[in-house]
Amino acid sequence: MKVFHGRVVVPGEARATALVSHGGFNTLASFQHSLMFGDKTAKCGDQNNPDLYNRPMAGTALCMPQTIGSTTGGMVLYCASAMGRSPACLLFSKPIDSLAAAGAILSDVWTDHPMPTVDSLGDAFLEAVQTGDQIEVASDGTVTVL
């Protein structure tokens, strides 16, 4: 069991299976196909992300350094959340970027499915966590890799 402490961006608790992207998470490229064509598991459509390509993202503890790409990113996360296809929580090793923050905050303020979001967990977090690990997020920003 490994414990990490980050900063709370959107408070909340979650318990989910880790899905880890070691490179920047391209939100539009990852979600657009699944949102358009009714894939409730939200399989990642980003061909440039070997860690995630074709893996289901809905309900996971999505671990990444930051998000990258189109400025539709926050809106895409908001839609995924409102449609019940978002990750259970967002966990960032680095300080969160503006697009991911927008998505997390829009989901918190405007939907009934907020995504607890913690950033600044450190590079050691992404080195330690592996896809398939069980993750527990506490409301104070403590993230436990079980």
Binding site: Q66, T67, T71, G74, S98, G103
Partner: protein
């Protein structure tokens, strides 16, 4: 009400507490939470004359966005400034099979007409305001240096910050509109002098002018969301922001923003802030990235080709993501026209679409170049190639493009300008 660290005016606090209704309170709460996340000190008035929104597509399944828009309109929460918006996703002129057309109209963009109506009610500048390159003179949404903007669209934000010297964060869709409605944006990041300093120095040491789209891709993938200060590029671009250079920087910036998350770059001796402040823009602990011919070759060779048959003959070519400027459009027209004539041909070998803003198309159609382009068989459209490529059948269609942004988000294969010209003129044996 939660305690916020940000300094709010009495009016902003009252809005947060519901003085202008629940919806306006939620808009303000969203902006304040967004700012608090990044340590914003206050909300800065938007001084740019117009906004720019990234969401132009009426995608039937994205109901949550349209329901939110309905709520905003119903509650009178419309934009306090006019805005432009990204290109439309459908144009009947662009080649598509009958099944694709059915998918576009009935399944994908079934909400287009109603969303266009929503945009008009929220403050859209005009029916011709659909383009990602809103900053072109013909379109009329060109910020001044120092203007504070509430824009989204990564390629437009990076251009406005870097080439025009405006101030805008990489806002997300919806946040862009909220800032235009509230008339304020949180002051952090690229709105501040400190946030505009470079944490990377990029040394360009190539033996020829680097392809804008590959150079931008390389820098974006390396620096992610940081600000790069680029040395050595002025050797190839010169020191004047003329039409050619602005077009180069548009394409370069789009690649940095889509392959990474760059919102601002400085180019030594060229972009406005680099000319004014020079090395003072570089942080003391800045990292260095050297780019030579081999590095650009390595970057291009690493792009995956996800066509079912990597050796397939291209069935469609897109040029213009972001939209082409008038100068680029005339240059491409003459390049194709003259190359075809030199080979004794009249029409392109691969169906090809050039994309540009409606206002640029109008200017072009009134010029002597229009007939020349028509003669080559190239289609001129206002469409967003990215939205076109989102249909599921495109996954199987071999499409080529000179846009690194289009490559990043779709199955389109990237080719340099020279390769594209050769492909569409000569075809593939």
């Amino acid at each position: 009400m939660p305690q916020y660290n940000m300094r709010l005016t009495p009016e902003q606090t009252a809005i947060l507490e519901g003085a202008k209704g629940e919806t306006m309170a939620k808009i303000m709460k969203t902006l304040v939470m967004y700012g608090e996340t990044f340590g914003a000190t206050h909300l800065e008035p938007v001084t740019g004359s117009m906004g720019h929104l990234v969401t132009s597509f009426g995608l039937g399944v994205m109901k949550p966005v349209y329901e939110l828009m309905d709520t905003l309109i119903k509650e009178g929460c419309v934009s306090s400034q006019q805005f432009t918006v990204d290109p439309k996703p459908i144009d009947p002129k662009v080649p598509a099979g009958p099944i694709e057309k059915l998918i576009f109209k009935k399944f994908m963009y079934s909400a287009q007409r109603s969303y266009d109506d929503q945009l008009a009610k929220l403050g859209l500048l005009s029916d011709a305001a659909y383009t990602c390159a809103c900053y072109f003179d013909e379109v009329g949404n060109t910020p001044r240096q120092g203007d504070v903007l509430s824009w989204a669209e990564s390629s437009a934000v990076v251009y406005a910050n870097s080439v025009l010297g405006a101030r805008c964060n990489r806002n997300s869709g919806i946040i862009d509109l909220f800032g235009s409605i509230a008339g304020v944006v949180p002051c952090f990041g690229l709105l501040t002098d400190e946030g505009r300093k470079a944490s990377w120095v990029v040394e360009v040491r190539t033996t020829k002018k680097p392809e804008a789209q590959i150079l931008g891709s390389a820098i974006g993938m390396r620096v992610m969301e940081d600000v790069p200060y680029i040395r050595g590029l002025d050797r190839w671009l010169g020191g004047e922001l003329n039409d050619d250079v602005r077009a180069y920087l548009k394409d370069f910036g789009a690649a940095t923003a889509s392959n990474g998350a760059v919102g601002l770059y400085h180019i030594e001796n060229l972009t406005p802030e680099a000319r004014e402040k020079g090395d003072d823009l570089i942080r003391e602990d800045a990292q260095v990235y050297v780019i030579d011919d081999a590095e650009l070759q390595r970057i291009k060779a690493a792009y995956p080709v996800i066509w079912k048959n990597p050796d397939a003959k291209p069935r469609l070519c897109f040029v213009g993501c972001p939209h082409l400027s008038y100068a680029q459009l005339t240059e491409w027209t003459m390049a194709v026209y003259n190359s075809l004539r030199a080979m004794g041909k009249t029409r392109v070998a691969i169906p090809t679409v050039f994309t540009a803003p409606p206002a640029v198309i109008e200017r072009f159609n009134a010029s002597e170049y229009a007939e020349k382009l028509k003669a080559t068989g190239v289609i001129l459209s206002y469409i967003c190639p990215l939205m076109y490529m989102n249909n599921p059948l495109c996954g199987k269609k071999p499409v080529v493009t000179n846009s690194n942004k289009l490559r990043t988000y779709t199955s389109a294969r990237y080719c340099t300008d020279e390769e594209i010209l050769s492909l569409i003129v000569k075809g593939v044996n």
